[in-house]
């Protein structure tokens, strides 16, 4: 409906990660360029401060004449100049920071939006094979790493490089020879800092690994507190934890050694460089090659140019995390979405519900599948409003078969027609709007019960309608017993619903949705007898005037169906109504029926046995 996303990550996919990140900046390139330019202006203002200082010093030492020899006025002007430059510098530094944040936060925001939407539109097979934890990790940590790349690392590297070149140019304008000898050790420093931070990163990873080990030990101990206590193993646990704890200390120390070497070494290198420059410049000043003012300005510029260099290595090493994260996010973006609205046939109104399976087979196409069809050569026909029951054991293909109807998966071969039109031609969105599913263990969201019932209805629903649906689903009375009635939250922060209650909320949800095709996936197997009766009433209300598919394993749940399909290993082994199937002597249906009868008989026997006092022990 309302496609509000303006950004499509799929347009920013590139094997070259830097290029990819550049493409990701679409719409934000000018602000980012603006941030860089502001940064340059700000740095330039600060550089000019040193030139002002030079002028001031030269005036003081008489190397430069004050304006009309009016010293107080000159000093006042210089003072104003300092304040003015500082305001200028501050203003642009603020603009730069703000624009960089604007870019980074903006990119992060639309990246989050895109990923959220993209993930919910990926196929069932993708979700089936991807661990949730891994996805969550990527959409949180990796997005944050990308944000930091723009907000801290890229701009940080840019800042240091800009400062370097601006100040170097300034030094050149003071004195070329002086400028060159002031930067001789910079390449060495850069090399050292990259060398160090690469190693620091490695040692840090080792340290983090041990932190994970320690957390695992801790967590296992805390969650297994009963076991620890039951076996009185406190001593053993303490020793184990202390071992892991000590190892973390050792690795921490190892990591620190690297840090504590880097800083003094860089101090020595840069301090030496600085001192060498100072002495050289001082000699030049004494020899009259430069003025005292120039010397003063030189000292300021050199200090400002040199010290940031040692952070450059750290930033450069850190940018690699941004690049890695980009790659990890790209893997998600590359996945194909389900085309929800695509389809040759766009019907007006609802379906009638006539469904024809004609030699339909289906093979999963993900990595886990070995290529054998999970359902094969299925043919049957059902009229609008009929109830079709699917009977069979686990893995017989019942669920796979009904999953084809809302187009969760597409059949691999054969023809499946709904109201005479090939199912593949209907848009997925339409089919899902027309189909309602009540699962064995329905998923409810941690929202209020009201929101759960109206979830996905797609229109405004008033309280009466909600209550009506809840009544028909036999859950209204239960809801009223909760502290906040319909506004009670479900889940951790609210009430925990029993399996039967969840199911009836799901039935109410489906009733409101009013689908024309209904799928009941083993809806009564996990609840007790009393609740089963209530759910059955609710289900009967639900099934009225809808084409219904019932997945079940008990004969009594399928007896009344208009058509019963007995499935085994992906195939229909028997089809017909209860009486017909019962009449087939060697059929599976009759076998199941007999087993269930036998169970009843055995139970009877068992009880009689105890009645005559024969203990079975």
């Amino acid at each position: 409906m309302n496609e509000t996303l303006t950004f499509d990550f799929r347009q920013a996919i590139s094997k070259n990660r830097l290029k990819g990140l550049w493409r990701m900046m679409v719409d934000y390139r000018w602000p980012y360029v603006g941030a860089t330019i502001s940064l340059a202006i700000s740095a330039l203002s600060k550089t000019l401060t040193y030139f002002l200082l030079r002028y001031f010093a030269d005036v003081l030492t008489g190397d430069s004449a004050a304006i009309n020899n009016n010293y107080p006025r000159t000093f006042a002007l210089v003072a104003l100049g300092f304040v003015g430059l500082s305001v200028f510098q501050g203003a642009f530094s603020f603009i730069s920071g703000r624009l960089a944040a604007f870019t980074a936060e903006g990119i992060a925001r639309r990246l989050r939006d895109f990923l959220f939407d993209h993930i919910q539109r990926l196929s069932f097979s993708y979700h089936g094979s991807t661990p949730i934890g891994d996805l969550i990790e990527r959409v949180t940590s990796d997005v944050d790493a990308v944000r930091r790349f723009f907000n801290e690392q890229a701009i940080g590297v840019g800042r240091i490089v800009l400062i370097f070149f601006i100040n170097f140019a300034a030094l050149l304008s003071l004195n070329a020879r002086l400028a060159w000898i002031s930067v001789v050790t910079i390449p060495l420093m850069l090399y050292i800092s990259i060398w160090f931070f690469k190693r620091v990163t490695k040692r840090y990873e080792k340290y983090q690994e041990q932190a994970t080990v320690l957390s695992t030990t801790l967590q296992e101990n805390l969650t297994g507190v009963r076991v620890v206590k039951a076996f009185a193993r406190q001593k053993h646990e303490k020793d184990k934890f202390e071992g892991d704890n000590w190892e973390k200390f050792l690795r921490g120390r190892h990591l620190l050694m690297m840090h504590s070497l880097f800083w003094p070494i860089s101090d020595l290198v840069l301090g030496g460089q600085m001192l060498f420059g100072f002495v050289y410049a001082a000699m030049m000043a004494i020899n009259g090659e430069i003025t005292v003012g120039t010397y003063v300005a030189y000292v300021g510029l050199v200090v400002w140019l040199i010290w940031p260099i040692r952070n450059l290595g750290r930033l450069i090493v850190q940018t690699s995390t941004g690049l890695v994260s980009y790659g990890r996010l790209m893997e998600i973006a590359k996945q194909d979405r389900e085309p929800l609205t695509e389809g040759k046939f766009h019907p007006n109104g609802s379906v009638r519900g006539e469904i024809v399976f004609d030699d339909v087979s289906f093979v999963y196409d993900d990595e886990k599948s070995d290529g054998t069809p999970v359902i094969k050569n299925i043919s049957f026909r059902c009229e609008p409003g009929q109830a079709i029951a699917l009977l069979g054991s686990t893995g017989s293909g019942k669920t796979s078969l009904v999953n084809l109807l809302p187009r969760f998966y597409d059949y691999t071969s054969g023809s499946l027609r709904l109201d005479g039109v090939e199912l593949r031609d209907y848009p997925r969105k339409y089919m899902r709007a027309q189909t309602g599913i009540v699962e064995q263990e329905p998923f409810l969201f941690s929202r209020s019960i009201r929101e759960n019932i109206t979830y996905g209805v797609g229109r405004k629903v008033n309280q009466e309608e909600i209550e009506e649906a809840a009544r028909a689903a036999a859950v209204h009375e239960v809801i009223l017993t909760f502290p906040d009635g319909y506004d009670t939250l479900v889940g951790e922060k609210g009430v925990t619903l029993s399996g039967g209650q969840k199911q009836r909320v799901a039935i109410a949800r489906t009733l409101l949705k009013n689908p024309h095709i209904l799928i009941l996936d083993d809806s009564t197997s996990s609840v007790d007898t009393e609740t089963e009766a209530e759910i059955r009433t609710a289900l009967n209300n639900l099934m009225e005037n809808r084409t219904t598919f019932i997945i079940a394993h008990r004969i009594q749940s399928v007896m009344v169906a208009d058509l019963i399909l007995v499935m085994d290993q992906g195939e229909i082994v028997q089809a017909g109504v209860h009486e017909e199937l019962l009449a087939e002597k060697d059929g599976m249906y009759r076998e199941i029926y007999e087993i269930q009868t036998r169970i009843d008989e055995e139970l009877e026997k068992e009880i009689q046995k105890s009645d005559v006092g024969v203990n079975h022990a």
Binding site: L60, T61, F75, A79, S86, V87, G90, A91, S93, F94, G97, R98, A101, G106, R112, F116, I119, H127, L135, I136, S215, E220, N221, G224, R226, V228, F231, A232, K238, K248, F249, G252, L256, S260, L261, W263, P264, L268, F278, V279, A282, M283, I286, V299, E338, S393, T394, F408, I437, F445, Y455, G456, K513, R554, I595, I599, E606, I607, K609, A617
Partner: protein, 616 residues
């Protein structure tokens, strides 16, 4: 995500430093006082040398360049170089000492907390989430260590830095120094005000972030329902509200931070301007040298560093103090269940066990057991059945003395069991729980947990008795196979068998099984029966179960409902009564046979807590 929430909740209150807390924090450093002293001295030297180096620079200008004295210049340069070397060594010392001290304090705190946690009773664990305890041991300890190292370091550095600068400035020209002193309070106030505003936005952004993670989590876990109900567009609009909140808060926090620095610098520039103007005039009068003015500018810049940082350091310190208080609270918690003074060794549990008018509740006014009495003869096998929440597990918990009765007594060998030591009871109890808990490591290590000195043969013997040997040997590495974190590489049924073997190995006198084989398939269950029969002979055992084969074998079956014994007797007696047990039994019987015949959907193992008996 939940851990994130916990931190967020706890961050909301910030603590004031009180004397007792301060004393305890300092006490953490006492054992390592020489390290602390070392880094203190080192950082102070580094900071003072910064001031000295600037002063040497001044002299290079005034005594070297201005008068053209090359010898003096070289002399000063040599001193300068020497100090750089000294300073580098000091930097090495303080980074290393502060860092190692930090790691060491963390180590100490973690050890102290972990050891204390081992003594706390289950009641504490049921009230405190694992996530909370984890964050106590992992992140709070880190924050306290940071406070005592980098926090202290920041403060020391700031103080010496400002003091040194002030002293040198006063030496050079006290009038100009007064100008600088005037702006210090202004800067500090501005810093704190800014920090507060930034913190507000920062917290809002953390809150939004945690909501975003929650939304991702829910939408991905429930993606099937989302698709089936076609709710993608609405979900996206709802999500965009969250990312919008996050955007606004973090953007604001970011640009406020970007504003802070320039403001501090502009205030400083005003001071700088005054120095230039006033200093210029003074130098005309010969009161100030060019090197002096230059040094002034440098000292001013110096002082700005710690002042810019002061707000951050202050916020972090508050944070750390809150962490320290939480840690102390944990360490101060007394266990509810502990050895009484003069407790004696239980010697044997193979005697009469009696619940004597026991009352128990987890939460006040929600009684679980009321006036519960039961006598068990040594060697008897008791089965507990009944609905969830009826009190079966509570009976087991009391029996193991994980909890103690609120009223009434539990007697073993005629003595109140609180007169025995906890260890002597636990050593003689073998317990197998429905949600089996394994530790990372091999299968062998996990079984050996039952008796640490056990030989490999006795481990395999125990596994055999528990019906685990066959599946273990079918694994690629057999007993050396890794079970994964929390045993997650194994199925629930396999984990149950291993925890059963572990209990078997410990050769308990009192054997307790709480739904211990609920996820084991019927075939294996039958296999275990014989082993269990051997195991339970000569031992008292309590079995919470729903499998009929297990229940039927019991000497006595108790149907527990609403904290009371609703029915009691043997299997046959209870069936004849046509009461609660009869109803539970018929339902369970039907279900088991359906599964056995392969009629039912067998895939129920995915559910962690199958509770067919729960229904009534």
């Amino acid at each position: 995500m939940p851990e994130d929430n916990i931190e967020l909740e706890e961050e909301e209150y910030s603590s004031q430093l009180t004397l007792p807390v301060l004393k305890r924090i300092i006490a953490l450093v006492i054992p390592h006082k020489y390290w602390a002293l070392g880094f203190f001295v080192a950082i102070a030297i580094v900071s003072v040398l910064d001031g000295v180096l600037t002063y040497i620079n001044k002299n290079i200008i005034d005594q070297g360049i201005a008068v053209g004295d090359v010898d003096r210049l070289m002399e000063l340069a040599a001193i300068f170089g020497g100090f750089i070397v000294v300073q580098s060594i000091m930097v090495f010392i303080f980074v290393y000492l502060a860092g190692v001290l930090g790691e060491r304090i963390q180590f100490d705190l973690r050890k102290q907390m972990f050891d204390h946690l081992q003594s706390l009773s289950l009641a504490y664990y049921s009230q405190t989430s694992v996530g909370r305890l984890m964050s106590r041991v992992t992140s709070d300890s880190g924050r306290v260590a940071d406070l005592m190292t980098w926090g202290l370091l920041d403060v020391t550095w700031a103080i010496t830095n400002i003091t040194t600068s002030v002293i040198f400035m006063t030496i050079i020209n006290w009038r100009l120094a007064l100008i600088v002193f005037a702006i210090i309070p202004v800067l500090v106030i501005v810093g704190i005000k800014f920090r507060q505003r930034i913190l507000v936005e920062f917290r809002a952004s953390r809150r939004a972030n945690s909501k975003i993670t929650g939304a991702y989590n829910e939408n991905i876990s429930g993606v099937r329902v989302v698709k089936a109900l076609g709710r993608e567009d609405e979900n996206l609009s709802e999500f965009q509200l969250l990312t919008g909140d996050m955007y606004r808060a973090s953007y604001k926090a970011a640009w406020l931070s970007a504003l802070f620095l320039p403001i501090v610098q502009i205030i400083a520039a005003v001071a700088l301007g005054s120095i230039v103007w006033y200093g210029g005039i003074q130098s005309q009068a010969g009161l100030l040298t060019i090197g002096g003015i230059h040094a002034f500018v440098s000292y001013l810049t110096f002082m700005l560093w710690p002042i810019q940082d002061i707000a951050r350091v202050y916020a972090e310190m508050q944070h750390s103090i809150a962490s320290a208080e939480r840690i102390f609270k944990l360490v101060d918690t007394q266990p509810d269940v502990h050895n009484l003074p003069g407790a004696i060794d239980a010697e044997t549990l193979l005697g009469e066990i009696e619940f004597d008018h026991v009352d128990f509740y987890y939460e006040e006014r929600k009684p679980v057991l009321t006036d519960f009495s039961l006598k068990v003869k040594p060697g008897e096998m008791i089965a507990l059945v009944g609905p969830t929440g009826g009190g079966k597990s509570t009976i087991v918990n009391l029996l193991c003395r994980f909890y103690e009765p609120k009223n009434g007594r539990v007697l073993i060998n005629g003595r109140d069991y609180t007169e025995y030591t906890l260890e002597s009871i636990h050593e003689r109890v073998g317990i197998v729980l429905q949600t089996p808990h394994l530790f990372s490591g091999t299968i062998r290590e996990n079984i050996r947990y039952g008796r640490l000195g056990a030989t490999d043969e006795s481990i395999e013997e125990a596994a055999n008795m528990a019906g685990a040997h066959d599946f273990i040997t079918s694994l690629a590495k057999g007993y050396e196979e890794n079970v994964g974190e929390g045993g997650n590489l194994l199925s629930t049924g396999q984990k149950q068998l291993i925890s059963l073997a572990r209990a078997v190995l410990s050769k308990p006198e009192l054997f307790i099984m709480d739904e211990a084989t609920s996820s084991v398939d019927t075939l294996t269950e039958a296999l275990i029966q014989q082993g269990m029969k051997n195991l339970m002979s000569g031992r008292t055992s309590f079995i919470v179960a729903h499998r009929l084969s297990t229940i039927r074998r019991a000497d006595r079956i108790l149907v527990i409902e609403d904290g009371k014994i609703a029915e009691t007797g043997t299997h046959a007696e209870l069936l004849r009564q046509r009461g609660h047990y009869y109803r539970l039994y018929t339902q369970q019987f039907r279900q088991e046979l359906e599964q056995q015949y392969g009629v039912a959907d067998g895939g129920k193992e995915k559910k962690d807590a199958p509770e067919p008996m729960a229904a009534d």
